[in-house]
């Protein structure tokens, strides 16, 4: 079973490099294809604009029959992201389909940033502010955007022109 999984991940990487969707970038660790680092750029015209949010994706042999484990490394303030960076996204749980690839996962997460689901909150405070005090919500999000530029130990080149080129590896 290791072959289909790795072959699929290589194809995912190829596609992500050759035809990168806007605003996301990701690549496997040089020594472990089952572990990926990714960056999602905050979508324009949203409170998350200009943020560079780092994530780590952990695959196991059951991919693509089972979704990978996805976790934010950057601190997030978002109704559907837990304090430890794990996120609550249906396509990563019960609505997973084996046709999703890394690009699809990252794009989904990107659109989740601007389009949260406050009805199943992972972060109750963020969900409450999102519903009741948008101004404060935006302020708190902007704080995490600024923080995302200063992540400790961050050696990544977050220049947008570099996105998807596969050069944004980070050793874990």
């Amino acid at each position: 079973m290791s072959n289909p999984c790795k072959r699929r991940l290589i194809r995912d990487f190829k596609r992500l490099s050759s035809d990168p969707p806007g605003g996301i970038s990701g690549s496997p660790c040089p020594d472990n294809i089952m572990l990926w680092n990714a960056v999602i750029f905050g979508p324009a015209d949203t409170p998350f604009e200009d943020g560079t949010f780092k994530l780590v994706l952990t695959f196991d042999e059951s991919y693509p029959n089972k979704p990978p484990t996805v976790k934010f490394l950057s601190r997030m303030f978002h109704p559907n992201v837990y304090a430890n960076g794990e996120l609550c996204l249906d396509i990563l749980q019960n609505r997973w389909s084996p046709t999703y690839d890394v690009a699809a996962i990252l794009t989904s997460i990107q659109s989740l940033l601007h389009d949260p689901n406050p009805n199943s909150p992972a972060n109750a405070e963020a969900a409450q502010l999102y519903r009741e005090n948008m101004k404060e919500y935006v302020r708190r999000v902007k704080a995490t955007v600024e923080e995302s530029w200063l992540d400790p130990g961050d050696s990544m080149d977050v220049d947008a022109s570099n996105a998807g080129s596969g050069s944004s590896d980070r050793n874990v």
Partner: protein, 608 residues
């Protein structure tokens, strides 16, 4: 009275031994076990059906599959759809044939789309469920090899379901959208929706759904596609038929796929059983049998019958971990359970509701009640429970400030300075105070009376495991010290089994008696109970007694007689109680009113 039983039952008892002999020869035969079960009753009841016996049927998985097939054929006959479609429709509608057919006639398209048989009309916009998944927005971008373009590039319409599309006709080589393999060996498959992927990916997906998620409705792999794979498709993927074009499986893979297919069949049967109220799965671990009991299918029937059933198998699977090895008696235990509740496997003669209520009461009261009874008294004014842990007998209730004498419970004001002689015993006030208190104490004592006996029988039944081991030892000894053969010493085993069975009955008769209203009926009930109890105690004593070589013949005679007598007594208790329920003869005391409210049943036995 007992001589009657001894005369004719002795002979019958020998029949029973032959029956045991038969089962030993052929213990694995399930049918034999069923006969065995019925024979137990036949020993002393003859052919007449007893009131406490419930009609039920034990079904194997293939029997259940036959029932499913009947329903499917019925739907096929009426609607004219094919078999696998009918199966999907029935599963979707929880095997409610009537409602399905009604809905089907009403609005065919909705039903087939909801059940995942066909895709919705292509003209309608794709389902854009407003969830935070952004389903359609984040489809894999249109890469050259992605799913939509590969389907679109087919010059011919999507292949019919589970028919392999012939690769040679493809204008470009097929690339599986799941594993991105493009080798010529691939065997692309799709459901009616035409979402192709290779057979290997299908197999991996289906196995993981069946094995890890226990899912019986397996949807198309494509994102957002609601089509459910019909059974023949799943079978073709997991176990490709001879001569199919798909690459051959290696033996290990084939074994895993076969296991997945078997599990799938089991899941389907479970889904069916769970949907039908007259069917229940045997709750014993590792057992795949089903019991059909139409008489106990409705909730209201449980107020008049106690549906104790047995699937006919015995024992539980031996686990590989030697530490969790079940005891010998558990290994041979009959798969007996109550069709109506999960309270206890056999709570005859009381009905499920009463058994449940009694257990709840025991849970709430038993432990603390004992302590309270022996260590406290109630304030004669506010009935607060008071513990006297030192000091003089001049008590002042903390709650109501009532002052009273601990000895006579009368008001302190009447005691003056001569409290210690407590000569006020006959004073009216003291008597009144004791009345109120003694009432609540009497109710507690009444409960404890029943509870202690109930718990005692439960304990004794549990100890029967030890008794069983002892008996086996005794049986061995007997074989060595006497001329008796193995078969002939089985009477000990039989006696232990019978004693345990009767103790379970006795246990629950105390729960029943607790809720019965005083009167002739209750007295008769308690007479039967007393006779059974006496008989069981006598039998237990016999079983515990030591064995002398020269007395074996006498002992054997006595034990056998006693066993049959006990069986008869047990039968009388069960039969009479069951009849009472059916006739609505039992009158209940005030304690059961809560239950009546709780159940809100029309058909609760009268006098309630």
């Amino acid at each position: 009275m007992s001589s009657d039983y001894e005369l004719d039952s002795d002979e019958e008892y020998y029949d029973d031994e032959e029956m045991i002999d038969g089962t030993q020869d052929d213990a694995s035969e399930d049918e034999m076990d069923m006969d065995d079960y019925n024979d137990d009753f036949r020993v002393d009841t003859g052919s007449k059906k007893k009131a406490y016996e419930i009609d039920y049927q034990s079904l194997t998985q293939s029997d259940v599959e036959k029932l499913m097939k009947q329903d499917i054929d019925h739907v096929v006959g009426i609607t004219g759809v094919d078999e696998s479609t009918a199966a999907l429709l029935l599963r979707h509608s929880n095997w409610n044939k009537e409602r399905l057919i009604e809905k089907y006639m009403d609005n065919l398209t909705t039903v087939v789309v909801e059940a995942g048989v066909t895709a919705p009309e292509p003209t309608s916009s794709p389902p854009s469920a407003r969830t935070h998944s952004v389903s359609s927005a984040c489809l894999p971008r249109g890469g050259s090899s992605s799913k939509p373009s590969s389907t679109a590039s087919h010059s011919h319409p999507p292949p019919p379901s589970f028919q392999a599309s012939s690769k040679s006709e493809e204008p470009e080589p097929f690339v599986c959208p799941i594993c991105f393999d493009d080798s010529a060996e691939l065997h692309p498959l799709s459901l009616d929706c035409g979402h192709l992927s290779c057979s290997g990916c299908w197999a991996a997906y289906i196995t993981s759904k069946i094995r890890d998620e226990g899912e019986h409705a397996i949807r198309c792999m494509a994102e957002g596609c609601a089509l459910v794979a019909p059974d023949p498709f799943i079978r073709n993927v997991l176990l490709p038929p001879e001569g199919s074009t798909s690459p051959p499986l290696d033996p290990k893979e084939l074994k895993a796929n076969q296991a997945a297919w078997n599990r799938f069949q089991e899941l389907l049967a479970r889904n069916f059983v769970a949907s039908i109220s007259s069917l229940k799965f045997c709750p014993y671990p590792g057992c795949t049998r089903t019991v059909k009991c139409p008489t106990a299918a409705s909730k209201s029937s449980l107020t008049t019958i106690v549906p104790t059933v047995s699937c006919g198998s015995r024992g539980i699977p031996v686990s590989e971990d030697p530490k969790s090895q079940p005891s010998a008696s558990l290994l041979k235990k009959e798969h007996k359970f109550c069709f109506g509740c999960t309270v206890e496997s056999d709570h005859r003669p009381v009905v499920c509701g009463v058994a449940k209520m009694w257990l709840k009461k025991c849970e709430d009261d038993s432990e603390t009640a004992n302590w309270i009874k022996s260590n406290t008294k109630e304030c004669s004014q506010c009935q607060s429970t008071i513990e006297k842990n030192g000091g003089c007998n001049h008590m002042t209730c903390k709650k109501c400030k009532h002052e009273f004498c601990w000895v006579c419970m009368g008001p302190w004001s009447e005691h003056g300075t001569q409290w210690y002689s407590c000569n006020r015993y006959d004073e009216k006030a003291g008597v009144d105070a004791r009345d109120v208190q003694s009432q609540s104490r009497a109710s507690l004592e009444r409960y404890l009376h029943y509870y202690n006996r109930w718990a005692n029988h439960e304990q004794s039944a549990k100890l029967s495991v030890d008794l069983y081991a002892k008996t086996e030892k005794k049986m061995e000894d007997m074989q060595l010290t006497s001329e008796l053969t193995w078969i002939e010493v089985q009477f000990m085993k039989k006696a232990v089994e019978e004693a345990e069975k009767c103790r379970m009955t006795l246990k629950w008769t105390y729960a029943m008696a607790y809720y019965l209203a005083p009167g002739n009926e209750k007295e008769l009930f308690e007479d039967n109970q007393r006779d059974l109890e006496k008989a069981v105690e006598d039998l237990s004593e016999l079983l515990e007694s030591s064995i002398e070589a020269e007395e074996i013949a006498t002992l054997r005679q006595r034990v056998t007689d006693k066993t049959v007598y006990v069986q008869k007594r047990n039968d009388i208790v069960l039969d009479d109680t069951a009849k009472g329920f059916l006739e609505g003869r039992w009158r209940w005391n005030a304690l059961l009113k809560a239950l009546k409210r709780m159940l809100r049943l029309k058909r609760w036995p009268s006098g309630f």
